[in-house]
């Protein structure tokens, strides 16, 4: 059944799905002000890219792509740990995680 699935769904549909998910992640980064939601949107973008990597890996029958997805997950886990620590630190200092208050590095 699984190989039949791979033959009936063209790779284009995976590309479109990943593009839409990536664009939704970009949209979340652009229109929200809550730092945690922006962080979740970044996770969404990472997931869109890893889904496409896994799809190409399966279609090309090349295991290196799936290993890369594994390493991206490793880096994402480390990134989330450090990033959430930074967010907690920011909240402790300015009592808010509104990114519009964090404009000291802007100019």
């Amino acid at each position: 059944m699984l190989t039949q699935t791979l033959k009936t769904i063209p790779i284009e549909h995976y590309i479109y799905l990943s593009s839409i998910l990536f664009a939704i992640g970009v949209l979340g980064v652009l229109i929200r002000r809550n730092a945690i939601i922006i962080f979740m949107s970044i996770e969404l973008m990472l997931n869109a890219v890893t889904l496409l990597l896994a799809a190409f890996s399966t279609y090309r029958s090349d295991a290196a792509g799936q290993v890369f997805v594994f390493f991206i997950m490793v880096v994402a886990a480390a990134e989330v740990a450090v990033g959430l620590a930074i967010i907690v630190m920011i909240f402790r200092n300015i009592k808010s995680i509104d990114i519009n208050l964090l404009n000291k590095l802007k100019w």
Partner: protein
Amino acid sequence: MAPYFFYFLAFLSILSALMVVFSKNPVYSVLYLVITFFSIAGQYILLNAQFLAAVHVIVYAGAIMVLFLFVVMLLNLNKELEPHKSSLLKLSGVIAAGLLLVTIVGSYRGAAVQVVGSAMDTPTYDNQIGLVKNLGKVLFGDFLLPFEISSVLFLSAMVGAVMLGKKDKV
């Protein structure tokens, strides 16, 4: 039946991803993100990448989302008091993201890639590469050094998170 499952999962992931961005309460955003991650894990199963599906559920839905939910609860953010950007900024954000989508899809259409689908009919095609046994051989063979280096990355991330989270300065 399986293609319908793909489209159902794709629809579910897109819908819950939109709800992540547009729901007002951060706790609801986290819960919708869990739905998105589970539907992406379903996509991995459809791709016969069982190792990735298991790791995705364990790492993302298990560890990362618990961390997010923990921080949301710790900072007491589960109320809808986020000041919103002006509707002009929101509209320009939607237009910018839509233009990005059009650019990505248009560049793909323009490139007219058609070589990727044809590899499935070649006799060397192997649809078992996503299983734990085969992926483990590759991971501990060709990619052994990056795998070991990633443990150093985890150690430094752990030290960094502890240092950042400490209350008093050393």
